[in-house]
Symmetry: C2
Subunit: 331 residues, 2 copies
Amino acid sequence: MRIIVDAFGGDNAPREILLGCAQAMEPLGIDVALAGDKDQLLACAKELGLEESFRKMEVLHASQTLTMEDEPSSILKEKAASSMAVGMRALAQGKGDAFASAGNSGALTVGATMLVKRMKGVKRVAFAPVLPTTKTPFMVCDGGANVVCRADMLLQFGLMGSAYMENVMGVQAPRVGLVNVGTESHKGDDLRQEAYALLKSCPGLNFVGNVEPRDIPYGACDVAVADGFTGNTVLKLYEGTALAMMGMVKDIFQKNVKNKLAAALIYGDLQGLKKTMDYNSYGGAPILGAAKPVFKMHGNAKAKAVQSALKLVRDCTQSGYVEAITQALAN
Amino acid sequence: MRIIVDAFGGDNAPREILLGCAQAMEPLGIDVALAGDKDQLLACAKELGLEESFRKMEVLHASQTLTMEDEPSSILKEKAASSMAVGMRALAQGKGDAFASAGNSGALTVGATMLVKRMKGVKRVAFAPVLPTTKTPFMVCDGGANVVCRADMLLQFGLMGSAYMENVMGVQAPRVGLVNVGTESHKGDDLRQEAYALLKSCPGLNFVGNVEPRDIPYGACDVAVADGFTGNTVLKLYEGTALAMMGMVKDIFQKNVKNKLAAALIYGDLQGLKKTMDYNSYGGAPILGAAKPVFKMHGNAKAKAVQSALKLVRDCTQSGYVEAITQALAN
């Protein structure tokens, strides 16, 4: 399997991306094709003492870099020669099996739609991160690709998310819930009421009804269906609250000698909790609905997170989730 | 000051409501008028041994109870004789200075609008709970009263929230933020972009721009302006995530003897954290925009939470926040 990686996407590019790829290739049994400026990559590889690994990678030369400040649509025009654009076109042309980037999410969504193209019948691609709960992990779909949505889009998000959770995460009959302000079927605005009706009457979907945000951290559903605005709010508030709470617990443990002793006693368990709630451990998130596997890595991913992401990309791609989604939408 | 209390609202009514009121009157220096069925209240008072306190309370007899299953609009028709409706009409008629209920939020919103009436110029009343962060508390406005909003409503939510935080919570020039999927001014849907423009150009408002949900737990703003759907999502996910995290920490501490020892060492600090993140300690939330003080108590409030709520109601009412909001909207 060959994974095309945007070497110039994210806060720590190209250094940590290159390092992560070099460390991942052999253990994961994957080939890597790096999209980015050839000379800069070579210099970076030398600096890191990674010449040998680097020689095993293909380089897809790209003279530009698309930044967080660039407009998403710039990937089609002003930044058509960027590492992200070059990598995605290469994926579309069959020069690799999957594409991963830690760069601009908006541009990645546009690229997935316009360069990689959508699966047949898909209205909009969705950003679909998987997050931890106190029980089993769940997917937010859409986590922010589409700020404004129609009800038929939400139905597809549910179908795509369900197919992914079943094929990649091994969840039997994934519980699909609609994020809403109450559990009763009449709750929410027109969008929610229409989406509820569509989801409920869809054969083959295990729709569990409306899910209140308060129950999500307790594992109320396997797929949380939302418009991109709501999904992004859920995603970011969830991350922020978990991090803030962990920070407050950490502060308590560092307050004085007595507390430090307590921390030492439960160090292992606390690390376990931290790991459970660490969204980075999930490595990355798929852009569902693209005709080929496209993944977003966390913007501040370091080498270790890049490795985790590449493992996820490999496993997902091997699972054949794109075909599974195509099948689910066709039914 | 006389506070009218819905004796039959919430999961633990009338028992815990009556108990909370009885315990609060003398320490808080308030009079209480109970809205509810006279005979049932008398029987409950006898059962609790509270006849003496009960004699000091006025009873506003109401033959019906409005439940969580009732339609919000039922407060105007089928349930016009409910304790909630009777209490709110009494407030409107000047038979008390404020009204508090732990009952159906939707009905409370309708009652605030139609029975108590809105302040002059207010488009919609808003449910406005104050929540803790790692730093200073913040208000969500609207927390769920209006699922669908226009931009001019969001502007008013910002103005009302700001006046409340300044007058009741003593925050100087409260930082008003718009909950959005990114900090840049062009982010979000049409509603967010229009609201941004209105909030930014409003004199006398300390608008700090868009606030990403991830930064809210760290105290990014004093007033988080949102449509009721988004605000309710923030409110419920925030509560749920904080509770889930506290539960996971608690599980760790109860895992074995070693961990229990660690817990004993930091018991006081952990209780402090729990208290910091406990939304119940804030007692209740105002319905902003009503012409007189109307408060929602937590649905599962017990006597202690009722006491906290009545203290909040007293302090808020004394602060003259209704007049402060009227002033802020007039400017």
